[in-house]
């Protein structure tokens, strides 16, 4: 290729290229003094979203360096609803990544099916000792705070199903909360208007206990039993709420009883009535199971509740409405304490204390007693509604089944009432 240009032109071109660079901003980054200008997806360090990890071990198995260490144990989770099967769940005990071995290939992040591993652009974790480069799950969880948000969706992209589901759920919860608040306001108004002062006081005091604190005793006991920290904490919270409620009720009912004791002779003690144990209070049992209590505990408590209920009933009969107010107070409490099917799955603080569950309102008791055959059928209406809401097929089916049973029971009850 013969060039037609004059000799030496190439030399001048070379000079021109270098001279151009003289007037450009240097590319050097003043790293230790200024943060380096890293691309957002930089592979700096691997962060662990511990809550998402299901101990599937995929990352550890795919790791070419075998630098991920995972330990776990299984825990039994009581069935979420009546008649369900207890499930096992993996609980993460240890998750360590040895960054002295890691070659930053990112396969673990790629392979994680539950979005538990992420790249963080942080890179300043050099150590003087090699063993300090083994980051355990606490440290890996801290790196999570430095993970940048995922890149924005393209314009016009469909919102991912999990996101739209979460939005719908949040909206629904907000609605429910608003309704509940409305109801509470109405009740408060009624209570004010009515002159049954002790009743209202008891009711107002009863269910509202702030969650957040934990019952140290329960916590310690669970930890000593070898339960994981998280489980112990949540159970201890529930125990605290329970205790607080019991305390409040005691104070309220104690005050009411003293007033009446001054006027009339003391009512016969519940213990005076003899009741045979053996049957269980289905309502209490269901509520406890729904709360996630083990089957044995629920049964025992339900038995106690039945005995208590029976006693109350017997006493009522004996007194034959002599002092209605005295029996009325616990009854009113119970009506409110009856667990609603949806709320049972919510946090422990929202669920009413089951030990206090006392004779429920009449129709509900009947409803529970009715037996319905044929659990294989489903309520198509409920099913469709749930599917439309974006619920998974399995959930929709089970809920629809439950709805069908409920409906049948109601029907039978209505028919019985007519007869």
């Amino acid at each position: 290729m013969a060039t037609t240009s004059l000799p030496g032109v190439g030399l001048l071109k070379g000079l021109g290229v270098t001279l151009k660079h003289l007037f450009k901003t240097p590319a050097t980054q003043l790293y230790p003094h200024e943060r380096p200008d890293l691309p957002p997806r930089t592979r700096g360090v691997i962060a662990l979203m511990e809550e998402n990890c299901t101990v599937c071990m995929l990352c550890a198995r795919e790791c070419p360096d075998w630098c991920i260490y995972i330990d776990s144990h299984k825990e039994t989770v009581p069935p979420a609803k009546e008649g369900g099967r207890a499930r096992t769940r993996n609980v993460l005990d240890r998750f360590g990544i040895d960054f002295a071995l890691c070659m930053y290939c990112g396969i673990c992040v790629e392979v994680c099916p539950f979005d538990a591993l992420f790249w963080s652009p942080e890179f300043e974790y050099a150590e003087y000792s090699m063993d300090l480069l083994l980051h355990e799950k606490g440290k890996l969880r801290e790196w999570m705070d430095t993970v940048p948000p995922p890149p924005a969706l393209d314009a016009g992209a469909v919102i991912p199903a999990e996101v739209s589901d979460a939005i719908a759920k949040a909206e629904k919860e907000l609605e429910q909360a608003a309704q509940q608040a409305e109801q509470a306001a109405k009740q408060a108004e009624q209570a004010k208007a009515g002159d049954a002062a002790p009743k209202a006081a008891a009711r107002a005091d009863e269910p509202k206990v702030e969650a957040g604190e934990i019952d140290q005793e329960t916590y310690d006991a669970l930890i000593a039993e070898g339960k994981s920290e998280r489980i112990a904490r949540s159970k201890a919270k529930a125990a605290y709420v329970k205790k607080q409620k019991a305390l409040l009720r005691e104070v309220a009912s104690g005050a009411g009883r003293e007033d009446e004791a001054a006027a009339e002779a003391p009512a016969p003690k519940a213990a005076e009535v003899h009741v045979e144990a053996g049957q269980i209070d289905q309502e209490t049992y269901d509520a406890l199971i729904a709360e996630g209590k083990p089957e044995r505990m629920a049964r025992a408590k339900a038995k106690a509740a039945w005995v208590k209920k029976e006693k109350a009933r017997l006493r009522e009969e004996a007194e034959s409405g002599g002092d209605a107010a005295q029996v009325d107070t616990p009854a009113a409490d119970t009506a409110e304490a009856t667990p609603e099917p949806e709320g049972a799955a919510g946090p422990a603080a929202d669920a009413p204390a089951p030990a206090e569950a006392e004779p429920p309102a009449e129709p509900q008791k009947k409803l529970a007693d009715v037996h319905v055959e044929g659990a294989g059928e489903i309520d198509q209406e409920t099913y469709d509604a749930l599917i439309a809401e974006g619920k998974s097929e399995r959930i929709a089916r089970s809920k629809a089944k439950a709805a069908w049973v409920k409906k049948k029971k109601q029907e039978q009850l209505d028919a019985g009432g007519d007869e």
Binding site: L11, T18, L19, L22, L30
Partner: protein, 369 residues
């Protein structure tokens, strides 16, 4: 030999023009001159070195030194301190005396050139009648230091580097001197101050437009510049060092202060060669052709310019030196190293004939116009 000749002749020579440092007291003027020369010799290479660091970095899209002193300006001082702390290693097989003397042998001629270089109106140590001859002769001595170092290191890389340096210096001495002779012919003087003076009065033939010698002798200037680069072993003519082939050429075995002396020689050489080019081709301390320094309009137009004029004159010379050294750095960044045979071919087959032609043309023109 050359040194002896020059020194004996120079004692016999009469200083052409008295500089500012020539006082009635011989001792005082001697001290002042030594102070001037040593001061410039120790400061100018550092300034040029810093400029090279920075300019090279920016030309390569980097920042260069930043932390030693303001904007990294004390980087070379820090380097010097580092060199002092280094262990002075002498190879067991080395010829110890020659090995130890060689860096000094290279350094001293670089220092001696500064005695004749005019750095401004009246700012020189000595204005010798044979100043140009002295300067060129002294420059050639440096190669002795390089060859001594290459031989005494008892290292094949050093030896090859030293031999390459010798071959290169011989090859490029010739065009360098021939180009300089053409200037001397045109100026009618071998005194560096005289050459500057003659440029102030040199007119384009037939007009009264004052020009520097770079205009009629652009070819000579180019030859001189290229030859000077090769004399200094600056890239793209750094075959004696050629890090990719010879480790570090004749400097391979040197450490610490001795290594620093070789480096200082290189930078001092850049300064002195640039200063020579300023004097020979770029009109010395004139700001522009035909524009005298402020305060110089009286007193012959070039000397005795008063304080302000002298300072400006020195500044002009320094500016021109820095510009020329910048071009050297620029070439270093832009061009790859030549091959040894290309280097020799370029000298003997291109530069020497061209410089002879240049000399002939200048001589004829001198007679004709």
């Amino acid at each position: 030999m050359i040194l002896d000749t020059v020194l004996t002749t120079s004692t016999a020579m009469v200083a052409q023009t008295a500089g500012l440092l020539d006082t009635d007291s011989f001792l005082v003027s001697m001290l002042l001159k030594v102070a001037l020369v040593i001061g410039l010799f120790l400061s100018l290479p550092l300034i040029v070195g810093y400029m090279e660091h920075k300019a090279m970095a920016r030309l390569q899209h980097r920042r260069g030194p930043m932390f030693a002193g303001p904007a990294g300006s004390l980087q070379l001082v820090a380097d010097g301190i580092k060199f002092i702390q280094k262990e002075d290693v002498i190879p067991r097989a080395a010829d110890k005396w020659v090995f130890a003397i060689a860096p000094g042998m290279a350094l001293v001629p670089a220092l001696l050139i500064f005695f004749v270089l005019p750095f401004g109106p009246g700012v020189w140590a000595a204005d010798l009648e044979l100043g140009l001859f002295y300067a060129l002769a002294i420059t050639s001595i440096s190669v002795l230091g390089v060859m001594m170092g290459g031989w005494a290191s008892a290292n094949k890389f050093s030896l090859i580097g030293g031999l390459r340096a010798a071959g290169q210096l011989i090859a490029y001495e010739l065009p360098l001197i021939l180009a300089a002779i053409a200037v001397a012919v045109q100026a009618g003087s071998l005194s560096l101050v005289g050459i500057v003076e003659s440029q102030a009065t040199f007119m384009v033939a037939g007009t009264d437009i004052n020009v520097w010698f770079v205009f009629p002798q652009i070819l000579g200037f180019t030859i001189f510049f290229v030859a000077a680069l090769a004399e200094l072993s600056r890239p793209p003519f750094d075959m004696p060092i050629a890090d990719s082939e010879l480790v570090f050429g004749y400097m391979t075995e040197y450490t610490g202060l001795k290594f620093a002396m070789y480096l200082l020689t290189e930078y001092a050489g850049m300064v002195s060669m640039s200063a020579l080019m300023v004097v020979l081709y770029l009109g010395g301390w004139q700001i522009l052709p035909g524009v005298p320094l402020p305060g110089c309009e009286a007193g012959g137009g070039l000397f005795d310019c008063g304080v302000l004029g002298t300072l400006i004159g020195v500044g002009v010379v320094m500016g021109k030196i820095l510009m020329l050294t910048f071009v050297m750095v620029w070439l270093r960044v832009a061009y790859p190293r030549l091959r040894e045979d290309q280097l020799q071919r370029m000298s003997w087959l291109v530069l020497v004939p061209l410089s002879l032609v240049n000399l002939a043309v200048v001589a004829v023109a001198k007679v004709v116009f």
